[in-house]
Amino acid sequence: MFGFGKKNREPSQTAEKENSTHSIYAVQSGKVCEIASLPDVVFAKKIIGDGYAIKPYSGEAFSPVSGTVIDVQENKHAYGILSDDGVEILVHIGINTVSLKGKGFKSAVRKGQRIKKGELLAEFDIKLLKNNKLPTEVIVLITSMDKIENLKINYADATAKESAVMTYELKEKK
């Protein structure tokens, strides 16, 4: 995996060149950071998958792709989405937020429903997270990394729903 952690090219440049390039959009407005910098080894060491984190300015998370909601955790802090191109994505709001037992979280979706890129996934209380000394980063991970190649992440300020933060190509099926 070359090029990780380095400044990547603008996703739009590669999108023009390669029509098989897919995008995962900003779940939030904020600064995109490397998951390797997160204070939890399971995320930092990419054990669940590779992806990005955004330090949020507001307490809303929007779907980074169009697809189907495949999991809504009981505590409303984590969501699974199967994108229309067959990639599994985990959206995890904050770190150790499972401990809040749903307090401060409001889900806007239910398991099994369709969701479009940019539609509201969940709302959360940033102040409550901070008061509980929990990191507020919203983490977006591809959990089916075996299907992915040429993953590029644009570490810059992102705008919710609009910025293509990650681009990738699907591996040819064997």
Binding site: D40, V42, F43, I47, I48, I70, D71, Q73, E74, N75, A78, G80, L82, E88, L90, H92, V98, S99, K111, T143
Partner: protein
């Protein structure tokens, strides 16, 4: 097939983080690895299959490993469950 029972002792059950650890461990083995609890079951190599079970503190689970490396897989699953859940 190798199987063993386990009781979830993590206060928060199997949520995203521990599910990730289980998937990582399970994926090292060729064997099929399944967790069953009541009428629910999950493929431990697929994170949303596991998270969808919504296993909670105190739930009793059965872990089944089936394949050429089932002995090693079973030992590894037991170890990761005992150390993190």
């Amino acid at each position: 097939m190798k199987s063993f029972n386990y009781k979830i002792t993590d206060e928060n059950g199997i949520h995203a983080r521990p599910a990730g650890l289980l998937v990582k461990t399970a994926s090292k083995f060729e064997s099929e690895i399944t967790i069953k609890s009541g009428d629910k079951q999950a493929d431990v190599k697929r994170i949303f299959s596991l998270m969808g079970m919504a296993l909670k503190f105190g739930d009793e689970i059965t872990v089944e490993c089936s394949g050429s490396d089932e002995e090693l897989a079973s030992d590894a699953m037991k170890e990761i469950l005992e150390s993190s859940l």
